[in-house]
C-alpha cells in the first residue's frame, strides 16, 4: 500500500513560482512562434505558387474582376506588389507589422498603423480592423459555449462516475456518444429547423452586439451555444467520467473517506480536482482553436465571425486576410495554453512554473 498522495501536501515548502519571468519567457517564445508561423504561411501563399510555376500575372489575374485585360493585370500586380521577390514581399509584410504601412486608395493615401497586417486583396479592407470586427462574434460564441460545455460536461461526467452502471450513467453516456458523433451541421440545422423555422422561439442567425442589447445578444446566440456545447460537453463528460473513475479508485480517496470526510468534500476537493488536469489541458486547446474560428457553427448560423471570414477568404484567394486569421488563431492558441499552464499551478500545486 502506497502513501496517500494528497496533491495539497506536495511542495508545500517550495518558493513562490517565478510567475513574472515565466510569463515574459512564454510571451517571447510566442513572438518567435508567430514569426515562424507567419513565414511558413506567407511562403505557402506567396512562394509555393511561384515555385509551382504560377507567374505574378497569374496571381494578379485572380484579383481583377471578370475581364482581366493585360493592363488591368499589370496595374493590379503593381498595386499588390506581386512582382517583387519573395523575401522583399515578406520583409514588407513584417515591416508593416512593426512600423505600419501606407496605402493609396486612389485619391488619398491611407496610413495603416502598426501592427498593420496589410489590406485585403479582394475588398481592400484593412486586415486587422476586419479581424477585430469579427473577433467579438467568435469570442461570444466560443466563450458562451465553453462555459456551458464545461459546466454541463464535467457535471454529467462526475454524476456518471458516481452512479456508474445505473440507467442515469448509461443514458448520459449514450447522449454523450450522440453528441460526439453527430456533426455540428446536423445538430445545428436541426436546432434551426425546430426552434427558428418551425416553433419560431429563437430568432435565426444575426449576431446582436452585447453592448447594444445583452439580452438579445444571449437570445440570438443561445441556439449556437447549446449546439456547440452539446458537441463538446459530450466529450468532456466522457473524459471526466473516465478520470473520476480512475481517481475514485485511488488509495488516497479511500483514506479520505476512512478519515470520515464528508462525501462531497471527497468528490469535489479530492477526486474532481485531481481529474481536472487533463480536462484543463484539452479545454485550453479546444477554446484556443475555437477562438480562431468556429467554422462550421458560424457557417450554419450565418455569424460573421472569424470562421466564416476565413472560409470566404480562402474561397476568394484573399491571402492577406487568411494570413491575418492564421496569425490571430495562433495568438489565441498561444494565449490559451499560457493560461492553462498558469491554471495548472492553481489546480495542481505539484506543477511548478519553470
Amino acid at each position: 500500500m502506497g502513501v496517500p498522495r494528497d496533491p495539497r501536501g506536495a511542495h508545500r515548502s517550495a518558493r513562490p513560482p517565478p510567475l513574472f519571468s515565466f510569463i515574459i519567457r512564454r510571451l517571447l517564445g510566442a513572438v518567435g512562434l508567430l514569426l515562424i508561423v507567419s513565414l511558413v504561411t506567407f511562403a505557402i501563399f506567396f512562394l509555393l505558387p511561384r515555385l509551382a510555376g504560377a507567374s505574378p500575372d497569374d496571381l494578379a489575374t485572380k484579383y481583377v474582376g471578370k475581364a482581366p485585360t493585360a493592363e488591368a493585370v499589370a496595374a493590379t500586380k503593381e498595386r499588390l506588389g506581386l512582382d517583387d521577390p519573395f523575401p522583399i514581399q515578406y520583409a514588407r509584410y513584417v515591416k508593416g507589422i512593426v512600423v505600419g504601412q501606407d496605402y493609396s486608395n486612389g485619391p488619398e493615401v491611407n496610413h495603416c498603423p502598426p501592427p498593420c497586417l496589410g489590406y485585403s486583396f479582394v475588398n481592400n479592407e484593412p486586415v486587422l480592423p476586419t479581424l477585430m470586427d469579427r473577433a467579438p462574434v467568435t469570442l461570444s460564441l466560443a466563450v458562451g459555449a465553453a462555459v456551458l460545455w464545461l459546466i454541463g460536461g464535467v457535471s454529467i461526467g462526475v454524476l456518471s462516475a458516481l452512479k456508474r452502471g445505473t440507467v442515469l450513467d448509461r443514458a448520459a453516456m449514450a447522449i454523450a456518444l450522440a453528441g460526439v458523433s453527430l456533426p455540428i451541421y446536423f445538430t445545428g440545422l436541426l436546432s434551426l429547423a425546430i426552434f427558428s423555422y418551425w416553433l419560431k422561439i429563437i430568432p435565426s442567425t444575426q449576431y446582436v452586439n452585447f453592448k447594444d442589447d445583452p439580452l438579445e445578444w444571449a437570445n440570438h446566440l443561445s441556439l449556437a451555444w447549446i449546439t456547440l456545447a452539446f458537441l463538446y460537453a459530450a466529450l468532456y463528460a466522457r473524459l471526466t467520467r473516465a478520470g473520476m473513475l480512475e481517481t475514485l479508485n485511488e488509495d488516497y480517496i479511500r483514506t479520505a473517506r476512512a478519515k470520515g470526510l464528508p462525501e462531497r468534500t471527497v468528490v469535489v476537493r479530492h477526486a474532481l480536482r485531481a481529474s481536472l488536469t487533463p480536462i484543463l489541458t484539452i479545454f485550453g486547446l479546444d477554446l484556443g482553436l475555437l477562438l480562431g474560428g468556429a467554422v462550421l457553427t458560424e457557417s450554419t448560423y450565418s455569424y460573421a465571425g472569424l470562421g466564416t471570414l476565413s472560409i470566404s477568404s480562402i474561397e476568394k484567394g484573399d491571402l492577406p486576410m487568411v494570413m491575418g486569421v492564421v496569425l490571430l488563431a495562433t495568438v489565441f492558441i498561444v494565449v490559451a495554453s499560457l493560461i492553462v499552464d498558469l491554471l495548472y499551478a492553481v489546480v495542481d500545486p505539484r506543477v511548478r512554473l519553470s
Binding site: 497569374d58 485619391p107 488619398e108 442515469l168 423555422y197 460573421a304 470566404s312 474561397e315
Partner: protein, 586 residues
C-alpha cells in the same frame, strides 16, 4: 426515474420525427409558408406580369445575400445582382424599362432626358441630364460628375473589378491614366455645360446606350470620391441613401430626402427602409424566405436544392415561385487547335454524340437546370433565332448514327481519345461530365478529365490557351452570360478572335474566323436594331457551322417570391432575377 428516461427519449424521437417531416416538404398541401399562402397568383406569373401590384409605401424590405457585394461602388462592380440592385442608390444615364416580359429588354433614359444621340458620323454620343437632380447631401448632380465617374471606373489603376468597355470604345490618343494619376483633362468625354455629356468614340458603336446603362455612368462627385474606399461612402443619386455598410455583414438604406419622384420615371421607391444581411448561409436564406422571415434573396440565382423540393412539392408554395431563364448558356467549347478536334468532322462528331439530356439532368432537369440549348445566343437575348445545327435525336441523347458518319469523315471511324474539363468545385458539372463521358463512349470517343476549381479555371488555367494546348484539352465546359442582353453583348467576348487573351480568356474554343470578326464589326456599326439582330443570328450560325461550340442548356432558376413581397416581376435584362427597383412590401 428508470421508466421516465425511455419515455422522454421516445418523446424526443417523436418530436424530431415530426419536425423532420414538417421540414421535408413532400406533398403536404396544408402548410402555408412564405408568410401567407399562395393567394391568387400562379407559378410563373412574374414572368409576364407584375405580381402583387401595389403602390403602398412604407415598411422595410428585408433582404439577405449569401456573400458580400463585390463592391457597393457603382464604378467598381461586375456582379449582375449589383448592377440590378445599385439602381436603388445610383442612377445611370440609361436603364432598362421597368416592365415584365421582353419589354424589359428595352432601354429607357434614367438620369438622362433621352437615350443617347449619336452624331452623324456615329463617333460621338450625347446625353442631356434631367433638370433638378440632386445627391443625398443636397448638392446638384452635374454632367462633370458623370464624366468623372466614367474616368475613375475605366482608367484608374485602383478600380479594377468592373468592365472596361468605355476604355475600349472611347478615343484616347493621349493614353489617359485616370483622374487619380493624370491631372490632364480627358478630352474624349466633354461637358459643354452642367447638363450635357458627350462621349467621343474611336470607332462606331451602335450599342453605346448599353454601356450608358452600366452603373459606371452613375455620377460620382469628385470631392467625395475616396477611390477604393468609396464603396463605404457612396453618395446617393437614387431614391435610397446608404446609412450603414458593414463590409461582409450588413447594409442599411433609408429614403434619400433629396430624391425627387418627378425627376425619376423609373422608380417607385415603396419601402421606407431596406435592410440587407450579408454572408448568410444559402439554405438558411431559403428557409427564412419560406417561413416568412425574409422578403428577398438578393443573389437572384434561385433557391438551393433542398428548398426546390419543398416548393415544387407543395401547391401553395409552388404558386409563389417562378422558373426564369437566366440568359446564361452552358456549353462545350471544342478547341480547334487540339488534335483531332482541329478537324471539323471530329468536332461535328462530338457535337452529334453529346448527350444533352444527361447534361440537362445533371443540372437539375428542365425546371431548375434549364432548357436544352441549340443556339449560342439564348432565347432571352435580343438576336436569338431558333436553329438546331446538330439535332441530338428525338430523345436528346445525341445522334449516334450521325456521330459515327462524322467520325468516319474525320478518319477516326473507331473514335479517339480526348481530354475534357469542367470546374471541379461544381458538383453538378462533375455529374454532367460523367454523363457526357458515357454518351461519348457510345461512339468510341474516350474522354479523360483535367479539371480545376472555378477561380483558377476562369483565370489562369483553362482560360489560358497555353494551358489548354499544353494539356491537350479538347472539350472545355463553360458557362457564359452577356454583360448586356444583346447578341453583341453575348457574342463579342466568346467568338471574336481579337478577344483571345493569354489568361482570363473567354474564347475557349479559339474561334479565329475573319468572317465572324467582320460580322461583329459590321453589327457594331449598324444603327438599326433589327438589322443588327440579323447579323447576330448570322454569327451564331457561322460559329455553329464550324462546330466550335456545342450548346447544352440555357440555364434557368427557381425563384421564390414570398407573399409579403409586392410589385414583383422577372427582369430578362438582369439575368432573369427579379427587377429590384420596383419591389415593395405588404
Amino acid at each position: 426515474m428508470k421508466k421516465t428516461k425511455p419515455i422522454a427519449l421516445a418523446a424526443a424521437g417523436l418530436l424530431l420525427t415530426s419536425v423532420l417531416a414538417a421540414c421535408g416538404g413532400g406533398d403536404d398541401d396544408t402548410s402555408t409558408g412564405g408568410g401567407g399562402g399562395g393567394g391568387s397568383t400562379a407559378q410563373n406569373d412574374a414572368l409576364t406580369k407584375v405580381v402583387n401590384a401595389s403602390d403602398k409605401k412604407g415598411g422595410t424590405l428585408r433582404i439577405a445575400l449569401s456573400d458580400d457585394f463585390d463592391s457597393l461602388d457603382p464604378g467598381d462592380t461586375y456582379a449582375a445582382l449589383q448592377w440590378n440592385f445599385s439602381r436603388l442608390y445610383a442612377r445611370a444615364l440609361v436603364t432598362f424599362k421597368p416592365v415584365p416580359g421582353t419589354g424589359n429588354l428595352e432601354l429607357v433614359p434614367d438620369l438622362a432626358t433621352d437615350l443617347g444621340k449619336p452624331s452623324d458620323d456615329g463617333l460621338s454620343w450625347t446625353y442631356t441630364l434631367r433638370p433638378g437632380l440632386k445627391y443625398d447631401d443636397g448638392t446638384p448632380i452635374t454632367s462633370k460628375d458623370v464624366k468623372y465617374a466614367v474616368e475613375r471606373s475605366n482608367y484608374s489603376k485602383q478600380l479594377q473589378t468592373g468592365p472596361k468597355y468605355f476604355k475600349q470604345y472611347l478615343a484616347d490618343p493621349d493614353k489617359y491614366k485616370g483622374p487619380y494619376d493624370d491631372k490632364a483633362d480627358f478630352k474624349s468625354i466633354e461637358t459643354p455645360d452642367d447638363s450635357t455629356v458627350v462621349f467621343k468614340l474611336s470607332k462606331k458603336f451602335a450599342e453605346f446606350d448599353y454601356l450608358a446603362s452600366m452603373p459606371q455612368t452613375a455620377p460620382v462627385p469628385k470631392a467625395k470620391d475616396k477611390g477604393l474606399d468609396y464603396k463605404k461612402a457612396v453618395v446617393s443619386s437614387g431614391p435610397y441613401k446608404i446609412d450603414a455598410y458593414a463590409v461582409g455583414k450588413s447594409l442599411s438604406m433609408s429614403r434619400n430626402p433629396s430624391w425627387d419622384q418627378a425627376s425619376d420615371p423609373i422608380r417607385t421607391a415603396l419601402p421606407d427602409k431596406i435592410e440587407v444581411q450579408l454572408g448568410q448561409d444559402a439554405n438558411d436564406i431559403d428557409n427564412r424566405l419560406l417561413s416568412g422571415g425574409l422578403d428577398l434573396d438578393l443573389a437572384g440565382v434561385g433557391v438551393q436544392v433542398p428548398a426546390q423540393g419543398k416548393i415544387l412539392g407543395n401547391t401553395d408554395q409552388k404558386k409563389l415561385s417562378d422558373v426564369s431563364t437566366g440568359g446564361t448558356l452552358s456549353y462545350l467549347a471544342l478547341n480547334q487547335t487540339v488534335a483531332p478536334l482541329d478537324n471539323i468532322h471530329c468536332r461535328k462528331a462530338v457535337a452529334y454524340a453529346t448527350d444533352k439530356l444527361a447534361a440537362q439532368t445533371a443540372f437539375g432537369g428542365p425546371v431548375t437546370g434549364g432548357q436544352i440549348a441549340t443556339t449560342i445566343v439564348p432565347s432571352t437575348v435580343s438576336g436569338y433565332v431558333k436553329a438546331d445545327a446538330y439535332p441530338s435525336g428525338p430523345d436528346n441523347h445525341g445522334d449516334v448514327a450521325k456521330a459515327k458518319e462524322e467520325l468516319a469523315a474525320c478518319g477516326k471511324p473507331n473514335g479517339f481519345d480526348i481530354v475534357m474539363s469542367a470546374r471541379s468545385d461544381r458538383p453538378k458539372e462533375m455529374q454532367m461530365q460523367a454523363g457526357l463521358q458515357q454518351g461519348f463512349a457510345r461512339v468510341g470517343i474516350k474522354v479523360t478529365f483535367k479539371n480545376a476549381p472555378f477561380s483558377d479555371y476562369i483565370t489562369t488555367l483553362h482560360a489560358s490557351p497555353d494551358y489548354i494546348h499544353k494539356n491537350k484539352i479538347g472539350i472545355i465546359f463553360t458557362k457564359w452570360g452577356a454583360d448586356w442582353p444583346s447578341g453583341f453583348g453575348f457574342l463579342s467576348q466568346i467568338v471574336d478572335s481579337r478577344a483571345i487573351k493569354p489568361s482570363g480568356n473567354s474564347n475557349y474554343q479559339e474561334t479565329k474566323n475573319p468572317e465572324v470578326d467582320k460580322l461583329l464589326d459590321q453589327a457594331a456599326e449598324t444603327p438599326d436594331k433589327a438589322a443588327r439582330e440579323k447579323l447576330y443570328a448570322q454569327i451564331d450560325q457561322t460559329v455553329m457551322a464550324e462546330a466550335g461550340i456545342v450548346p447544352l442548356v440555357y440555364s434557368s432558376q427557381l425563384l421564390y417570391r414570398p407573399a409579403s413581397l409586392t410589385n414583383v416581376y422577372v427582369s430578362p435584362a438582369y439575368s432573369g432575377m427579379y427587377d429590384y427597383v420596383h419591389l415593395g412590401v405588404k
